[in-house]
Amino acid sequence: MEKRVIFKGLWLPLLLVAPQMVITAVFFFYPAGQAIWQSLFIADPFGLKSQFVGLGNFEYLLADPFYRASFLTTAIFSISVTLVSMGVALYLALLADRLIKGSGTYRTLLIWPYAVAPAVAGVLWMFMFNTRVGVVAWYLGVLGYDWNHVLNEAEAMGLVVVASSWGRISYNFLFFLAGLQAIPRSVIEAAAIDGAHFWTRFRTIVWPLLSPVTFFLLVVNIVYAFFETFGVIHTITSGGPQQATTILVYKVYSDGFVGQDLGSSAAQSVILLGLVGLLTIIQFKFIERKVHY
């Protein structure tokens, strides 16, 4: 699509795009290029000289059991966050959609946790489950369950999943409710007259018509779980215990800044870059379909 009516000029448009181009070049393309470049070298521990190793960093990474474990951790974490946050959101949206009025009030009550930063959400959940002062941990203790996410890997994973899903419910609720309200009432009422009960209607009408929203949310939530949950993990577990909650983004940070292994961290960045590219392509493909839908 192009504009028919345009302005003449050469220097003015160049001047107008200049700020964005300069910022993008300095803070985006140069660092991204550096990441690719650095991923081909190994620096000595003092950072004095570096040696070209080609794809050595990648070979080393892919053979590294910790890195492979981090892939699996990321997969489990992202899928869990996506399912939990979308499941709860869909349940609440289905309830709110049944109301003739008042769904707006519930929307207001439910959307604002979106604004709570993942890192703050992490602190809130860590406080509830803190082994020394946490209220929930204490009551679990009364019930005979000895909660300790500092030592127990499964509990640590469960806690970061719940803390990451919590604020995300708002976002998914908003989109699910909008999707549900866009389904023509007449279709659902026609089915109801034919005697279809809630579950039948949901399975045969609502769920298929909702599928564009569901696919969209699926991709967006996976991207969220991959990249925006760093704050949750850093505040609650710092990747532990024994790397049980070290997702890929966390590992780029811990290897690059804590471990000072620049070559490996850069190679990990490049692999992540490929993953983001893939997710973006899926997203765009899907969005195109949504437009046609």
């Binding site: 003015l12 803070f27 660092p31 959307i111 604004a115 406080f127 925006e228 983004v249 960045s269 870059l273």
Partner: protein, 281 residues
């Protein structure tokens, strides 16, 4: 007819009950943080802590704002405000300008610029942290507002949004402006920007929340506690090792950290929803 689908009577109340339980469960962590910010440290370290607010509200919040743990929280709030406003404002300005150029001019390299900007959609700052950190360090921008703001401005979402919107502006307006002898910048300021104000406002809300809630980037480049933003500063308030954390002050800080973006969402709900839907298109 409505009765066949929407519930009345018993089912109606069941629906409300389900929603209220959901709301309460989602509220609980925040309620607990608020309670913890109004009681004494002694009440927290003797579990279980009370579930109703105490009388230390003013004490704890004053303690947090004035003294904090490493730095006064009031200073961290100010840092967050400057960062969030800087990101929102900066991104909107550069995006408006470049979208205007891309839509309303034909110039060499236009397609290239478009695709270069498009590429930035694909790479969040989390992925390129080490080299971006080196760039900032090289410019001497560690522990500075420009170091906090600039790397997060380099992204294309806003440019695309404005491009899409400009494409829907009728050509007749541009023609009329040209007939009246208005130059491109005049058209931009007097017609395009005023027409975009709802889009700008919606985007501002989303970008403000985005900027306020940044964590990893401030964590890397603000080593000086007086430059910490509030969201990343909370974690720094925990003692390393086995010492007991100052829970009431930390929880007061958590409440203060979530307050501005939450208020923005509640009071600008329409703009917020619009921005959210727009920026995902």
């Amino acid at each position: 007819m409505a009765g066949m689908v929407e519930k009345r009577g018993f089912g109606h109340w069941l629906t409300h009950a389900g929603l209220i339980v959901g709301v309460l469960v989602i509220f609980f962590p925040i309620w607990l943080a608020f309670v913890a910010s109004t009681v004494t440290q002694a009440e927290i370290v003797q579990p279980p802590m009370p579930l109703l607010p105490g009388d230390q509200f003013f004490n704890n919040y004053r303690q947090a704002l004035v003294a904090g743990v490493n730095a006064p929280v009031a200073a961290m709030l100010m840092n967050s405000l400057i960062m969030a406003l800087g990101i929102a404002f900066g991104k909107i300005v550069i995006s408006l300008l470049s979208a205007f150029a891309i839509v309303y001019f034909r110039f060499p390299g236009r397609k290239l610029f478009f695709w270069l900007i498009f590429l930035t959609l694909m790479l969040p700052v989390e992925v390129r942290i080490v080299p971006t950190y080196e760039v900032i360090a090289g410019f001497g921008m560690l522990n500075s507002y420009s170091g906090l703001i600039f790397p997060l401005i380099a992204s294309a979402t806003a440019t695309f949004l404005f491009r899409q919107f400009f494409m829907t502006v009728p050509d007749e307006l541009t023609e009329a402006a040209r007939v009246d002898g208005a130059g491109p910048m005049r058209f931009f300021w007097d017609i395009l920007v005023p027409m975009s104000r709802t889009n700008i406002a919606a985007l501002f809300v989303i970008l403000f929340i985005y900027g306020w809630n940044q964590y990893l980037w401030p964590l890397l480049i603000t080593t000086d506690p007086s430059m910490n933003t509030i969201v990343m500063g909370i974690k720094q308030m925990f003692p390393s090792g086995d010492d007991l954390a100052d829970w009431p002050v930390i929880m007061a800080t958590s409440i203060l950290a979530m307050l501005p973006p939450v208020l923005v969402v509640i009071f600008m709900q329409k703009l917020f929803i619009r921005g959210l839907v727009d920026s995902e298109k």
